[in-house]
């Protein structure tokens, strides 16, 4: 175990050094002014400033709050709807074209209507994250329900188990490993839209930090924001990955 952490640390450090080197090289070779491409050092100072005046913590806190509110409500609604639609084939055939047409539309494209219905501040960000997470979870839930091993359904028929019991004792748990995979994918897509979501009238958050710094032409802070979004996104992804693994283990799926 010790060894494993050490070697991970080694590779991460190597990656870090590689990135910084390439970055500096690009600046030297391209001879870009600092205002257009800040140096690693400037970004480092930017990060230090953000940490020292405490704003970074606040941005992270607000962004995570918005993210989890949007994401978790999307998950709850999409799973509930997905379980029902996955069982009701005909209803799903009506809803499917609607979902399929709405899904490829960028959440940003909706912003005029989001402002109309949800105003500004927290809500647009939450709604945009909701939209971004909703479709992947819904689609993976429906397909998970449809993919359930038919023998489970035959077993339930054979045991004469009633529809409600069937839904929450068999269908939901049987579909859950696939749903968890959908949750994992959705965390990535939803987090990407944080920046877009925090562009509409938000006054804090990492997305706002990026937009606002960009507005003020502080590209060093833009890069600082990008780094934090990236690192937090990675951590969120790992967390959901662990959750997925845990589900897999609980469900007796062998992962190698």
């Amino acid at each position: 175990m010790q060894m494993k952490y050490l070697s991970t640390a080694f590779y991460v450090t190597a990656a870090f050094v590689l990135v910084i080197t390439v970055w500096q090289l690009v600046i030297f070779i391209g001879d870009y002014p600092e205002a257009l491409l800040p140096s690693p050092l400037m970004v480092f100072y930017g990060i230090i400033t953000l940490i020292q005046d405490g704003t970074l913590f606040e941005h992270v806190r607000v962004s995570l709050f918005r993210f989890f509110t949007g994401y978790l409500s999307a998950v709850v609604v999409a799973i509930a709807l997905g379980l029902v639609l996955g069982r009701m084939t005909k209803l799903w055939r009506v809803f499917e074209p609607i979902v399929q047409v709405l899904r490829p539309v960028a959440p940003v494209a909706w912003s005029p209507f989001i402002v109309l219905w949800f105003g500004i501040g927290n809500m647009p960000a939450i709604v945009i994250i909701f939209i971004a997470a909703f479709f992947p979870v819904l689609l993976s839930t429906v397909s998970a329900v449809k993919k359930i091993d038919k023998t489970y359904l035959k077993l339930a028929q054979n045991l004469e188990i009633k529809e409600m019991s069937l839904l929450y004792k068999i269908i939901f748990p049987a579909a859950f490993p696939f749903i968890a995979n959908g949750l994992h994918i959705a965390v990535g897509t939803a987090w990407i839209f944080l920046v877009a979501g925090e562009m509409i009238g938000a006054q804090s958050g990492l997305g706002y930090l990026i937009v606002d710094s960009r507005n003020a032409l502080d590209l060093d802070l833009v890069l600082a924001g990008i780094i934090f979004i990236g690192v937090l996104g990675l951590l969120l992804d790992k967390a959901v990955g662990l959750f997925e693994k845990w589900v897999g283990k609980q469900w007796g799926v062998q992962s190698n």
Binding site: A35, G119, I120, G121, R214, A216
Partner: protein
């Protein structure tokens, strides 16, 4: 609309100019519309952006030669070391402070939300000025930045109580009856609040001085035509802006394009206010930033 081509062809005869689809950029539209008349063979290409910041990115990176852009934003870029100069104004006045129907005076805005398009904008300064006159603090209201097109609907749904923004969005607020005009910009600044400026890149002016001169001259002439409310002029506006006659006429009532020279007094006022509001530490001086050469030669 002609698709924009690759990055390295900005050193030819075509002058590439960025703008946002707002009434404040009208002199550019008229220069383009009557290109043959005013530019004598030179060509300009107008590139429409979705937001100020994308326009600024392109200007800073040298992907366009100039732009009609927020004065304050351009000053910030100059302060950051970008080689640009303001050569003329985009317009005079024409920034209405819109408020919901139940807001009768700035005092009613206490604790309410006010939308502006950008922190580095005349609109932000206007808001501050108005509040100060009313004896209030900037902190008494909740200021948010939002995309201008969203402002009228946000006002109508009560998400904000007031907004200050470029035309035609103020006039649209009136014609859509989502709010009313609380104040006009000229009430707050000494003779003019500097809002949008025509900014050119220094390297462009150095590389093609004749072209630059010809263009600015044409721009100033075209500007005068933009203010005329003739059939022809209204039609030209509507070639570039999709807006109702009613809203356009109202906008034009508020805006003037006649004298686009940038005066030092106006600029210094702006400069001080920027420092005062903490929006810039060391904005460029008048001499550094404003290029008056086109006017001196003209007169």
């Amino acid at each position: 609309a002609t698709p924009v081509s690759g990055p390295d062809d900005n050193k030819n005869d075509v002058i590439r100019l960025g703008h946002l689809p707002i009434t404040h950029a009208a002199p550019l539209y008229f220069t383009k519309e009557f290109e043959e008349e005013y530019l004598d063979g030179a060509e300009i290409e107008l590139i429409r952006f979705g937001s100020w910041i994308e326009l600024m990115d392109a200007l800073n990176a040298g992907r366009i030669d100039g732009a009609s852009v927020l004065f304050e934003l351009a000053m910030k870029a100059k302060e950051r070391g970008i080689g640009i100069s303001a050569v003329a104004l985009g317009h005079r006045e024409g920034n209405a402070i819109m408020a919901a129907h139940d807001v009768e005076s700035p005092a009613d805005l206490a604790g309410e939300t006010v939308a502006i398009p950008h922190t580095l904008s005349a609109h932000n300064l206007l808001l501050d000025e108005m509040l100060k006159r009313e004896g209030m603090d900037y902190e008494d209201v909740n200021v948010v930045e939002m995309p201008p097109p969203e402002m009228p609907s946000a006002l109508s749904e009560g998400r904000i109580s007031s907004y200050i923004v470029a035309e035609p969005f103020g006039a649209l607020g009136v014609t859509l009856d989502t709010g009313h005009v609380l104040h006009q910009s000229h009430e707050f600044c000494p003779n003019n609040c500097l809002c949008c400026a025509l900014v050119l890149r220094d390297d462009f002016m150095e590389d093609s001085p004749e072209l630059a001169e010809q263009f600015v001259k044409g721009y100033l002439d075209a500007g005068e035509r933009a203010g005329e409310q003739t059939e022809e002029s209204l039609a030209a506006h509507k070639n570039y802006l999709n807006v109702t006659d009613e809203a356009l006429e109202l906008s034009l009532d508020w805006i003037s394009y006649d004298n686009l020279r940038i005066y030092e007094t106006e600029y210094e006022f702006l400069r001080e206010r920027l420092i005062e509001m903490g929006l810039a530490d060391d904005p460029p001086s008048y001499e550094d930033f404003v290029d008056q050469s086109y006017f001196e030669e003209e007169t």
